[in-house]
């Protein structure tokens, strides 16, 4: 009986696991890998049950082409020929910029590279974007601006050497369970855990200090904390002079954030702000973990910058146990290079700009790889309308997702257990994926489909690869150039995790001696709290937060097909504080309607005191009922273009 060692396809810890196969090469069971340093034998239910969705009967097995009365099965050559002929006629009539590409970044480095090569080199469109835009875009932009590179600066093991773990807008208990082993180990060694989150999440319960902040006001809180440190003389002046620039403007800006003003904006008591500042200053080392709660705001980049300012001012960067761990939601291939300029193209659209262009009929053909924007993007109705206007929508995925249902041609792709390649973990470490078993029936490995499509579209050379390793070699040759330049592009998605860190080598800590800017200094950016475009009003008095449950993953196209998760968390719900619920006459289990300026959605009320009384919260995973993005309006961060999913004025009423 053979076993194949590969990595979990879910969260960004990229736990090592082994898949045992029977005599016919069919997978039997997933077991943890005891030697991979990130998990050392630990595994959460998602990894443990991952075979269930990969072997699910609803997997797409053949290419499908849409006819008037539904989809019909087609051969590969027919499906690819159809795509090629429509793309060719679009290029001829409207130019290559009428075609846009969008992919999930939860694909191997090799697949993403070929996807970009197909777009930039063969089609010659600059419009390629990835679902990073909805995830780590703010963090990457802020890290590039301030530290000079968007690479995750610290190895995971730095968590074990720290005195303070500061978790802002993240719930690793739900989203990265294995990371909590590091956090708890740190606590056992004497570290304190502080969380800043509007919801009392499982992580917040386990913290020493939980600051239940009003959503979208992190900038004010972090600036206020920095102000307290400056006033008390607890900042590291030597570090600021020697290693950074631009502190004076920040000092002046944060002086306006007095505890009273911060309390008014954030809803956090003055004493809590002071306690936090004291704790932060007294800890010789501190690690900051942050995630979507901090980043998915209209001021997402500012919030991350405020967080970096705090660390820079106290010199808590680039040392053992000091630094940052920006969490990626899932394992991710490198998306930032090669960039359009390497192919002599201008910057293209971000994903929502593509959707808007499709609505204006500027973009007429789209190729969506393993992503489900209909469920994940804000203002669902608009997204669906836009996608329906396309002349050709190609979706390559493993299930008939909500997006695939709108497609003209569907190509059956592969999962990460079925393809070769490499992918990057949370600290930027590259891990190798091995093919454990074959795709069902006629489905193919994603990167091979892209190569085939490129050839049919007329690429004479450059898409002949014997193995995924050859693709990686070619990608690496691009990376060196980009890494050396280390500059940020206009989209704020410049240099990401260096895919040259191999799985054999421990990830190195960055910024011990100098930062990645040309002058080696880190830059302070003055950030101010700004009120969001939409404020709560008498009509829409509550703020809606979207979140991930411990049981589902992203748009739940995978976990929604696993029985255990379906049983544990079958229905979308709306978390509401008992006081708010009483005021609105809502009791546990009532059906409620949530309305915003963008639309309305129904859910079941879950009355709980784990949420602030001026907020309500809804999980992001469902479609059909409880499709939360129906109420999320189109508001974006100006730099990272990340949508605001976390503070939406809504009203709630009983149905």
């Amino acid at each position: 009986m053979a076993t194949i060692q590969t990595h979990c396809p879910f969260c960004s810890i990229a736990c090592g696991l082994s898949i045992s196969l029977d005599l016919f090469g069919r997978p039997k069971q997933v077991e943890p890998n005891y030697n991979f340093t990130h998990n050392r034998g630990a595994l959460c239910p998602r990894g443990l049950l991952s075979l269930e969705w990969m072997r699910h009967q609803e997997r797409l097995k053949k290419p499908l082409i849409r006819e008037k009365n539904g989809f019909r099965e087609a051969s590969w050559s027919e499906a690819l020929q159809k795509i090629a002929s429509v793309f060719r006629s679009l290029i001829e009539n409207y130019g290559p910029t009428s075609i846009a590409f969008y992919a999930s970044s939860r694909l191997s480095n090799e697949t993403l590279y070929l996807f970009k090569k197909l777009g930039y080199e063969v089609i010659k469109t600059p419009h390629i974007d990835f679902n990073d835009r909805l995830g780590v875009a703010s963090a990457r932009a802020a890290y590039s601006l301030s530290l000079g590179s968007s690479e995750p600066p610290n190895p995971l093991t730095d968590l074990l050497a720290t005195n303070l773990v500061l978790i802002i807008g993240a719930d690793p208990c739900s989203c990265h369970p294995v990371l909590m082993r590091y956090v708890f180990d740190a606590r056992e060694r004497g570290a304190k855990i502080v969380t800043i989150d509007p919801r009392k999440t499982q992580t917040a319960r386990m913290a020493d200090l939980h600051i239940q902040i009003k959503p979208g006001t992190d900038v004010a809180f972090l600036n206020g904390a920095l102000n307290q440190l400056i006033i008390s003389g607890l900042i590291d002046r030597d570090f600021i002079v020697a290693r950074t620039k631009g502190f004076d403007s920040v000092q002046e800006a944060v002086s306006k954030y007095t505890p009273a003003r911060v309390a008014e904006i954030t809803g956090v008591k003055e004493e809590q702000l002071r306690a936090f500042a004291r704790l932060y200053a007294q800890s010789p080392t501190a690690m900051v973990i942050h995630s979507r709660g901090l980043e998915q705001h209209q001021k997402g980049v500012s919030a991350v910058l405020a967080c970096i300012n705090l660390a820079l001012a106290t010199g808590k960067v680039g040392k053992r146990g000091c630094g940052f761990l920006p969490l990626m939601g899932h394992v991710s291939g490198v998306t930032s290079y090669p960039n359009p300029s390497s192919y002599g193209l201008k910057e293209g659209f971000t994903v929502y700009e593509m959707i808007e262009a499709a609505y204006r009929r500027e973009i007429r053909g789209m190729y969506i790889l393993a992503s489900n924007p209909v469920v994940s993007l804000p203002e669902t109705g608009f997204v669906v309308d836009a996608l329906q206007k396309l002349d050709l929508l190609v979706v390559q995925d493993v299930f008939l997702t909500e997006t695939a249902k709108l497609a003209h041609v569907i190509l059956p792709g592969s999962t990460l257990y079925e393809s070769e390649g490499t992918i990057n973990a949370v600290d930027g470490r590259r891990v190798k994926l091995k093919r454990a078993f074959n795709t069902p029936k006629d489905a193919k490995e994603d990167w091979k489909i892209i190569c085939q499509l490129a050839k049919i579209l007329g690429a004479n050379q450059g898409f002949e690869y014997g193995s995924a390793e050859e693709v990686l070699d070619e990608l690496s040759s691009h990376s060196k150039k980009t890494i050396m330049r280390r500059d940020i592009d206009e989209q704020g998605l410049a240099v990401v995790g260096d895919p040259l860190v191999s799985d054999k080598i421990e990830k190195k800590r960055l910024y011990g001696d100098s930062f990645a800017h040309h002058d080696g200094l880190a830059a302070f950016y003055m950030v101010e709290y700004a009120e969001p475009a939409e404020l709560t009003s008498t009509e829409y008095p509550l703020l809606l937060i979207t979140f991930k449950t411990p049981y589902h993953f992203l748009t739940s196209s995978e976990t929604g097909r696993i029985d255990f998760f379906k049983q544990k968390c079958p229905k979308p719900y709306l978390e509401i504080h008992p006081a708010t619920a009483e005021k609105l006459g809502i009791s546990q289990g009532d059906r409620v309607v949530v309305r915003s300026k963008a639309g309305k959605v129904e859910a079941v009320a879950e009355v709980t005191d784990t949420i602030r009384d001026d907020c309500v919260a809804m999980p992001m995973h469902w479609f059909k009922e409880g499709w939360v993005n129906l109420v999320v309006p189109k508001h974006f961060d100006p730099i990272s273009k990340i949508p605001n999913y976390k503070a939406i004025p809504v009203c709630v009423e009983r149905k």
Partner: protein, 159 residues
């Protein structure tokens, strides 16, 4: 002897242990570790304590349950068990289970197949947060003392 120690301050209720236990071949799809949500966000995993004076051993009329020399309370011998539920009724932790299919009592044996290969019991290996530990009971008691002492020393009001 080595037993499973639960660190409740680490349990996040993810159910990885329960699912892993279920997947073990010799368990025939039954979970022999249990995780209950006592109150919102407070989880209580329950495992067999392999008691020194095990009530299940004492009350078994068929002498099907035995305590092995290494201290492990072994599940009922299949040829002897009469599925009378006596063990299930007396266990203060509610650990023994009656398998409806085979009409036999089943409980945790601390994964003898895995331990023979030098691996940890599956739940202790798989727990993402390290809430389940397989260790000497003496170690546990010393560590408990140190832990509590540390907690008291560090205890300072935060707000």
């Amino acid at each position: 002897m080595k037993i499973l120690r639960i660190d409740k301050r680490r349990c996040i209720g993810c159910m990885a242990c329960v699912l892993a236990c279920k997947q073990l071949k010799s368990h025939r799809g039954l979970e022999l570790i249990f995780v209950e949500e006592v109150s919102k966000g407070e989880w209580a995993p329950t495992v067999c304590m392999h008691c020194q004076q095990a009530p299940c051993v004492n009350v078994c009329p068929a002498e099907a349950i035995i305590k092995l020399p290494d201290g492990v309370v072994k599940r009922a011998d299949e040829s002897r068990c009469i599925a009378c539920r006596n063990c299930y009724l007396i266990c203060p932790f509610g650990v023994p289970k009656i398998d409806d299919q085979s009409k036999l009592m089943v409980k945790c044996d601390l994964c003898p197949e895995r331990r023979a290969k030098g691996l940890l019991p599956y739940c202790a290996a798989i727990c993402p947060t390290g809430a389940i530990r397989y260790e000497e009971s003496v170690e546990t008691s010393i560590e408990r003392k140190i832990e509590t002492a540390q907690r008291l020393l560090r205890a300072r009001p935060l707000t």
